[in-house]
Amino acid sequence: MSKTILEVTGLRKDFRQFLGLLATLTGDTRVIPAVDGVSFYLRENETVGLVGESGCGKTTIGRTVLRLEDPTAGRIVFDGRDITRLSRAELRPLRREMQMIFQDLDAGLNPAMRVRDILREALTVYERPGDAEVSRRIRELLDQVNLKESKLANFPSELSGGEKRRVGIARVLAVRPRLIVADEPTSALDISIQAQVVNLLRDLQKHLGLTYLFISHDLPVVELVSEKVAVMYLGRIVEMGLAENIAHSPRHPYTQILWSSLADKQNIEISRRVRKVPVERERRAWGVFDFEQPRGGCRFAPRCPLYEQNGRPAVCTDPGSEPPLRDVGKGHVVACHFA
């Protein structure tokens, strides 16, 4: 059984929004809970998928776990060491082993540096290899991400989307990480290039024994690459379990909606003539809302079809009884009173 490389318990992260220019002095701010008590663990050489609509806090979790943001509360244990409150200096050697691939294709690429210099700098962050060793390692990195040698002389602005992502990955591999948080690695790419990057990430995991925290709203890709999937809604995990169960026998109404909108997209077979029938009354219920701030209790209640069907039961909106994540068998957990 592979070792647990990362364990997160009760993670909370609030953002303070300063209201007005003088707010920094007078301190009148609005607290926005981006992550509201999240716990999960990652085992070595395994991938956990984190899905949810934009604004659900999945990116914030990724950044907080790597201590790019300081958590408000909770514990982060990496490879057996509690890194929640480590200082920057203590963190630095550990930071080598946990890296991040950012959603923005230009994230790690200084617009004023050529690809060769970007990779050389990454190789010399933690070690002082000689020039021969550096060029050998650069060639090795290029092979790992199958990038042509001629690209070394280019500036980032001269690369295509796929090439930028591959240089980004090579730059991260240069420091030999063990855990990679991949934040929407494929969403900015075209379909054919997405497929290349997904295959590349899976190959790297196999050859280098990497562990991924794979954050994305692209459900089929997440299901494909992840052993375990956690579904996020407004800062909390509402359901978590093996990828197949989440995709094919989801228990939480929100997961069902997510995957059903995916099914809509994929059902090529349903010929469009048949669907002339007006949209069913039931789906209309959760029709058009965007994120209404939950008043208390289950945060999904305002959009939840179960809540509508069961005649808006009080337990869902009673502030005291936010549904906890309870086990429904084989490690599958769900946070809903009626699931």
């Binding site: 609509e53 934009s54 295509s160 989307g161 796929g162 090439e163 075209d190 379909i191 054919s192 290039i193 997405q194 497929a195 290349q196 997904v198 295959n199 899976r202 709203h217 459900l219 089929p220 890709v221 299901e223 494909l224 197949e244 995709a247 909606i257 997510l258 909108s261 995916l262 809509d264 997209k265 994929q266 090529i268 077979e269 010929s271 469009r272 669907r275 002339k276 007006p278 949209v279 029709g287 058009v288 809302f289 965007d290």
Partner: protein, 370 residues
Amino acid sequence: MSAPLLSIENLRTYFYSRAKRAFIRSVDGASLSVARGETLGVVGESGSGKTVTALSAAGLVTGAPGVIGGSIALQSNGVARNLLEGLERYVRVEEKEGRVVAVEKDERGWRRRVETLMAGVRGKEIAMIFQNPRAALNPYSTVGTQLVETIRMHTGAKGEREAKERAIHWLERVRIDSPRLRFDNFPFGMSGGMCQRAMIAMALSAEPSLLIADEPTTGLDATIQSRIVELLAELKAETGTATLLISHDISVIQRLSDRVAVMYGGTVVETGLAAQVLAAEAPARHPYTSALLAAIPSAETVRNKRYLQAIEGEVLDTIEVPPGCRFHGRCNRVTDAVRERCAGVEPPLAEIAPGHQVRCWLYPAPSKAP
């Protein structure tokens, strides 16, 4: 088959990269047409020229040199008008071995010409919705005012109150919650999905004969995306407006299009009925279209954790266009019989079945019946 509502013939729209002193051949001889009441889905990856084609049709291309060739015929109340009529008086193109090597264009003269050509067409006959809706709405005036502006310009409802009522009616039709309240909202106070609904209302309120939708769902969340697609399907059924739908998301194209055009490297490589071209198993299909469909993680691939069928190589950057077929570099169905032609000569768009055209040497035009 009545004459198509919009017919684009051999459209050529170039831009110029000062850094490399070379042409960016965004649209390099694209031809496609939309019949009245039909939805043509244009699918392609970034750099395939699909958005520039749409902008050229609406006369909204701003870069230099811009539109340099081709014709765009629009049927408006029975009369076919060429929206690029007189282009040759403003543009001179020099070609060498079939490739454009120099362009001379009177840009300001042509820009004035487009204004006169498109008067009464842009906004009235052809309406357009764009990709990031919140940026596409005027941040300095309320959604209602912008909607009323369109209605008073393009419909009979000239009066302030009458136009406002019609605007609110449209906000209801696009399922915006509490439309009377949203009427006075500013775009920054509304979500992406909400803004896109307002854009759709604004476009359709002018009762156009053609709606151009440029990546209407990109950038929205999956759940909101599927609702916008449903809304477009509903409104299309009700109003019968012809739609030119542009998207890189094949599932959106599948769900809304009657016919489909696949673009690659600035040209149309395949057109045909959506059911025909995008069906799971199609007898004859352009290698790029098949590869594109295969690259999408299907339920079956996902369940068996198999590798995705990626298309190797990079998306064609339309600065350095190779001779011969544009997809040749990445094509996995090149046979020895056609390899030499694929590399040397660009295949024509041949009609291999009624209404189904493919630009590939594997499917040459059936020899003319004797």
